[in-house]
Each structure stands twice: as C-alpha cells, then as structure tokens.
Subunit: 482 residues, 2 copies
C-alpha cells in the first residue's frame, strides 16, 4: 500500500481484512458488468458489514474525494455498478450486509439489509407464509439495495407496482457519512420532501442504501396461467381492459407476444411448443392468482372471463395451463424471447415505456417507421402491456455483420426509437435505469426543467461528486465528473 | 403603482387586470389562514389563468427576488399558504386555473389544473361513473394543487393511500419559470430521481404545481357502515387486522373513538345519539364498500365478519347502519369530535402518526405520561387506526384560562407529545404538513441527515429562496429566509 494513500489504511481499519480487497484477480468479477459491455478498474473493493462501517467509509471517501461505486449483485443492465476506467474509484460492495433484521407477517413488513439476495428474501418469507411480490431473472444475485437503487420492475408490476411501491422505509448513508434513518413504516408522514423516493431509482448517486423496510403480501394459494390469441395489439389492449375491470385484484400478469417472437422461441429454444394449435398474429399470456384460501378459484375466474371474451370476439382462441408444469412452460416461452431473438441474429434491444392506453398505437406506428427508415430491419415488440412497458427489438437486416451493424446502426436506430417514445409521451427507460448506457440520450431528450432539477439535486446532496460519478445524471459541462 | 416597481407592471401585463389585485380589502380573505391563527401582508395577489402565465410570473419574481406564496383554497392547517408580515411577498393564487383538461374513465385517469376544487372534481367524475377516492372537510374550497402540495390524507387513506398514491403525473413551474411537464401517466419510468414525489408534500417551496394527472376508481355501488364496541385500543387493533385480512379490498374506513370523545359529541352536538345502548370504553367505526356490482354485498360482508368477531370475543357489541341516513349519522359522530372537544374547553390538538402496529401501544403509554406531567390535563386520542394516524387532544385542566393555558402550556406540552412520537418511531406531522406551525419542531427533532437533505434540495432548486420562504424547510441560520 503506497504510503501516501493514508485513506486506504483508514478504510482497512474500518472494515478489517475480510472487507478489503485490492488484488485485481479478486476484484475481476466485479469490474465488468454481467453482460460484458462495460469494464472498469478500481483501487480497491470495500465490503462493510454494518451501516456504521458504511458511514465511516463514506466519510473517509468524502474527505479524500475518492469516487465510490456502490454495488449489489452486479446484475444491472446499464453499467450502473461498474467503475470507470480511471482506476481512481473504490467499489463499495454491500454484499456482506445480508441480514434480514425482522419479519412481521402480521404487519406485512420485512426489514432487511441492502445485501440480501432477492431469492433469499423469497425463501425467508415463504417460511412465514408471506411473499415479496417482485421477481426477475437475476433473482439469485440481485440484492435488495440494487433493486431499490434501480427501482426494479419485473412481471408483477401490474398488480404490485415497481420496487418504489414496495419500499415502506429506507436507511441510507449520505455522501458525508451521515446516516438517514427512515426505516419506520409510516403510512402518513408529512415532514417535507419525501427523501425515500430520491433513493429509489437513484442509482447510488446520492448515497448508499444500507437497509429497507419492504412490504410483503400473503403467500400465493394458487394461480392459473392462460394463453390467448388475438388479432392485433389493439385487441390485446381491449382484452387487458376487460380482464382488469373484472378481476382487478387477481390479475397478476398480462404479457403480449407477437407471432414472430413465438416463432423464434419455438425455433431456437429446446422443449418449447405452441400452446395453441393454429397460427395467430398476437398472443397473450395471462396469470390469475389468489392469495386468500376463501377467494374465488383462479381457474374458474379466468375460465369464465375468457369464455365471455370469446363470445364478445375479444379473443380468437385460448387455453389454460392444465398443471403447474404447463404454467411454467407458458412462462418459459415469454421468458425465452430475448435469448431466442439473440440466436436469430444481431438485434438492438430497447427498454422503453409509454402510457398504457397508448401502447398498442405505439407498437403499430413505431414499427413501420423504423423498418422504413432502415430497410431490411425487422421490429419485434413484446412486453408487459399492463405497465405500458415495451421491449422493442430491432433486428439487423439479413446478412448484416455484427460489428458493422452495431457500430453503424446503433447510433442511428436507438435515437430514432427514443424520439418516437418521447413523441408518444413515454420514457426512454422503463425498467433498467440510465446508468452509463443512456446518459447521453437522457441529456438529449430531457427538458431544461428536468435536467436542471436532476443536476441541482445531485450537486446539492453530493457536492464533491463522489457517489457513482458518471452514472445517471448528465452533469453540465464544466461540472466535475460530467 | 410606484414607478420603481417595474416588475409589478410586468406581472400585470402577464395576467391582465382580472388576475391582479392590490387593494387590501380585496386581498384580505387570503391574508389570513382559515383558522385565524396566521395573518400576513402582501404587495399583490396574482391569479394566472394558464401554465404559461404562471411561468412568466415566476420568471419575473425570480429576477427581482420577490417572495411568492402559492395558494389554493386557503384551507390548510399549518399556515403554509399565508404570507409573512414583511409585506414583501406576492400571493400566487391558482384558483383561476380550474379546468379539468380530460377525463379518461377507461384509463381511470383525470388531468386537471391546480385550481380545480375537490368537490367539483368529485362531481365531474361522478358523471362518468368514476370517483376520486380522497375527501375531507374542506372539499368545497380545497384545490387539487393544495391537496398535492400538502399530500392530503382523509378517511380513505386506508384503502387508497394519501394524495401521493393518487398522483400519476405532475406539471409544475420551477422558481426560474421553466416548466416541468411530467403529466404523462407512466407506470414504469426510470429516468432518474422521481421529481413528482418532490412536489407532492413540497408545500410550494420548490415551485408551483399547475396541473396533475390523478388516478380515479370506479364509482361506489354501495357501502355499509358499522359501529362496534371494544374494550381497549389493543382490541381495536386486533379487530382491524382481522377485518383487513378478510376484506382487504373493501375495507375503506376504520376509525377509533374513545368513550370520552363519544360523550363529548353526545353532549355538545345536536341530533346525535349513541349507536349502541350500553356504555363501552372504545368504539370503532367501520366502512365496507363495493365498487363492482357483482362483488359481494358489503352488508353481508361486514355482518358475517362482525358475527365471527363477536364469537371470538374481538368485539363486545356491534350494529349496522340500517340506512344511508344512519350511515351518515355514524360518520357525523366521528367528524364532530373536534368541534365537540372545543365546546368542552380549551385543548391542544396534535396531528401525529406512528407505525400502524404501534398505535395502540402509543395511545396507552403516551396518555398517562402527559397527564402525569401536566396534572389536571386529560388526553383524548382518536383517529384513523389503519394509517397509524392519531389525533391527540390534550384538554386543559378544569378552570384553566384559555390565554394562560395556551401561552403557558402549549410550548411545554407539544414538545413532550412530539418527543413521545419520535421515541415511537413516528412523525410529528401525519396529515397537515409543516408550514409555519411545525417548522421549529421539525428542526429540533430531525436528524442531521434529514435536515441536510431538506436544506440542500431547497437551496439547490430555489437558490434565491423565493418560493414560499419561511415554510416547511428550517434553513440554517445565515441562509436567507431562515
């Protein structure tokens, strides 16, 4: 350790040797994001075991103006947890803070530390007949702190909201090391600006989330998964509105899938087959659940509703999963789309959202605009219709070389997609956040008022710009870290 | 108009004579809060008719460093909309911006301007068979902008949340006049810090809310109101948990009332009588609703649940309102408590909250502490048990002179109440906000981290401190307007 780097000794004294890693080999897994798109370097990785240790580390970092990159499971999608290449940063891993502090099933609350892995949380709650109604592919690595800092979504947002709706309280350490204790779950609290909501989706740029009080719901009694066919995205929307008005409290999933995506899955993913015999233009995956034993059987709920929908010509055909295995098979089709599309050839993927009522129109109108402007491309749009969340893939023209495609077209097609989203009143980031990958576009497409506020808040709370610099907030030129 | 006050001419040019009032007589109703506790003076009252006019006014105010006091219905509880006595401010009334821009029943959204009065909103939605599930005593004057800026509550928070949960999008003008257009109702939007949540409960200190997209729910089909008796606050809590677990989706009201408060109402409020024959220590008002015609009849829901509760000894007795008139009579008892208590003699009223699970304990433990420390006082606690929201009244000792009582005791009793609230992990403001009346206590009882963040945000977004100075944020000494 260089003698002039006294702050490293101070940090080592705080966390002890178990929480201090300098060797490149030991740090390597945490220097690259999981999709392999961003790689950085760091002076060291610090892993505090307590909120107080986190506070002490930030105090030292702030005094010495050391950039701090908070990290949870390192499974983010936008490079938000990867240090830059300057080699001046430290990684602050929250993974050692992995205690569930308390579970109160009667209050439907759980208090857990930032490093608790989502799957562990699910398992701990299942023992108490509770569940945390948010899940996603990376649940085996994603941590509570990361889920909060990225305001994670998933397939249950329709009924339970994003992470933001599930956070009842937060504990965080500010850049100067002071501890914000907002863990108390108060249903009514009018003591000024809601600070909790700044940390949710804040991507670690205002401080470090160290713990949270999360809302839980009763464990599921059972569920029924259905597959239906419709002629258009508009029809899918009509079906969604119909189901939502009739079963608002048990409709937990509503995903739309175009014929092209289904075909990709059937072609590339082993052990998949189409739930319906005939070919259809659009498909819908529906999940109905119950979490009270005396509530209506979800199977009879969806059976009746789909029968009515068929009578009213809202759907062309439908089938119910006959078993839990078949339910999983239906979901596997939905969850394999990205993988199948990748096997199909290079494609640009966009995580965008529009108002729910405008989603069908957006899909209908945006796709031909993109395909016309970039001949040979093919657009596939699927996603969570109940949330207005479109996963929009633009597939490369047949024969396009991957490197050429990415370098030549990405910088043209993505801005066009984003322009169309903004014109539809939407957001260029639905689920994944801004991180490194969308910062330039956020700056290009935000109003002066929005940028002014983002910058003002960032600069006010983190005046030395030590918290995850270069992520999320496009600072004005001339400001440090821009 | 003095020649040197060119900015007044500029503002007059923006809003025209209809939107510009200088005469003290014309301004008088808006210079005092409705409870008559705060009175200020102002140079003029500006009433813009559009968002653009609001923007133009703020630009001029910011350039000339003129303090701006935004005002809606002027029915707030903490002096948050009353100018100070310096006579240097302008009142910015949003009451002319009273258009409902659009109602979309199928999307369950309404877009309305800040000056729309709550009752008008209720009426406009009723025509579309929708409702806005928030109401309060001042609904005939309270405006949407004021409800948002104070994060208003009410008796339906249990099921539908406070104003914060009902705001899907916001349009606001920042202190520099720039317009933040966040009206699009996006279910998923991860573009950085959630700016909407800063304006909700921001008390006009960061800018002016000019319009909002609000969530609506289906109009009620019917409701059933019940009155039950329990032996203690703990029993009331057990009953609450029982009902919430059995009818989570139709329980819309759960209010607890101690025997002393019921007695006050029966003594002082004409045309009231006790719903139950016998005397009981605690009373509970329960409202069960349905907003789908094919949902279970609320009368049979509550009848069955209360029968089970009686069997299990969760309640001592209960009765159902036999008619809508009787339902209103039950609610009248609850809504008259404050008035009845005032007729009883002087009392200090506190609007506080604690975690729901801790409310019974707080009531049990705080009351004797207060009564012991201030002999002769009597504490009455009632309120929204489902929200942890306690209305805590400390009645003066018999024979206490009102002026003496207020001056001698208020400054001792209220801090004690607040200390007890903080010790219970609660909030010194549940519904009413901070405004002028709780700013000193907020400063005394907030952690450094909370104060640092409140101040940093305020100073960053409103560097000239023109927006409602002296309200909500206790600025550090030396900062302007502190």
């Amino acid at each position: 350790m260089p003698e002039n780097e006294k702050w490293q000794e101070q940090m080592l004294a705080v966390v002890g040797p178990k929480g201090f890693v300098r060797a490149d080999d030991d740090m390597a897994p945490w220097l690259t994001d999981w999709r392999g798109r961003y790689t950085g370097t760091a002076i060291a990785m610090l892993s505090p075991a307590t909120t107080q240790e986190t506070s002490d580390i930030l105090k030292i970092a702030n005094e010495n103006a050391i950039p701090v990159v908070p990290q949870g499971g390192n499974s983010g999608m936008v490079g938000g947890a990867t240090p830059d290449e300057s080699g001046q940063s430290i990684i602050l891993s929250l993974r050692r803070m992995n205690h569930i502090r308390s579970i109160a099933p009667e209050d439907q609350l759980v208090v857990c530390e930032a490093g608790v892995v989502l799957q562990s949380l699910h398992e701990a709650l299942a023992e108490k007949r509770q569940r945390f109604p948010l899940t996603l592919g990376g649940k085996g690595s994603a941590t509570v702190g990361g889920l909060i800092s990225t305001n994670a979504g998933g397939t249950q947002v329709l009924r339970h909201g994003t992470m933001r709706a599930l956070v009842a309280g937060i504990e965080a350490v500010l850049p100067d090391g002071s501890i914000f204790d907002g863990l108390a779950a108060l249903k009514k609290d009018n003591r000024g600006y809601d600070l909790k909501h700044l940390f949710v989706g804040g991507e670690g740029t205002l401080g470090v989330v160290t713990a949270a009080t999360l809302k839980t719901v009763p464990a599921l009694v059972d569920r029924c998964v259905a597959w239906a066919a419709v002629d258009s995205a508009d029809e899918a929307y009509q079906l969604f509105r119909f189901l939502e008005s009739r079963a608002p409290l048990s409709l937990e999933g509503f995903e739309i899938i175009p014929a092209t995506c289904l075909a990709s899955v059937l072609r590339h993913i082993p052990d998949t087959r189409s739930p319906l015999k005939d070919a259809h233009r659009w498909h819908v995956l529906i999940e109905i659940v119950r979490d009270q034993a005396d509530a209506q059987d979800p199977r009879s709920v969806i059976e009746n509703l789909l029968a009515t929908a068929l009578e009213r010509d809202l759907i062309k055909d439908a089938t119910l999963a006959a078993s839990e295995q078949q339910a999983e098979d239906f979901w596997k089709i939905r969850d394999s789309i990205s993988e199948a599309e990748r096997a199909n050839g290079p494609a640009l993927q966009h995580d965008i959202s529009v108002p729910v009522a405008g989603m069908a129109q957006f899909i209908n109108e945006a796709s031909p605009v993109i395909e016309a402007k970039f001949p040979g491309t093919e657009v596939a749009a699927f996603g969570h219709m109940g949330d207005g969340n479109v996963h929009l893939h633009v597939k490369a023209p047949p024969g396009a070389q991957t490197p050429n495609w990415e370098t030549d077209y990405a910088n043209q097609i993505t801005p066009l997609v984003h322009d169309l989203v903004i014109a539809a009143g939407g957001s260029i980031s639905a689920e994944h956040g801004i991180g490194q990958s969308k910062r330039t576009e956020l700056e290009r497409l935000s109003s002066d008022a929005r940028l002014t506020m983002l910058r003002a808040i960032k600069t006010a709370i983190d005046p030395k710009n030590i918290m995850n610099p270069g992520k999320l907030v496009p600072l004005a030129s001339g400001q440090s870290g821009s």
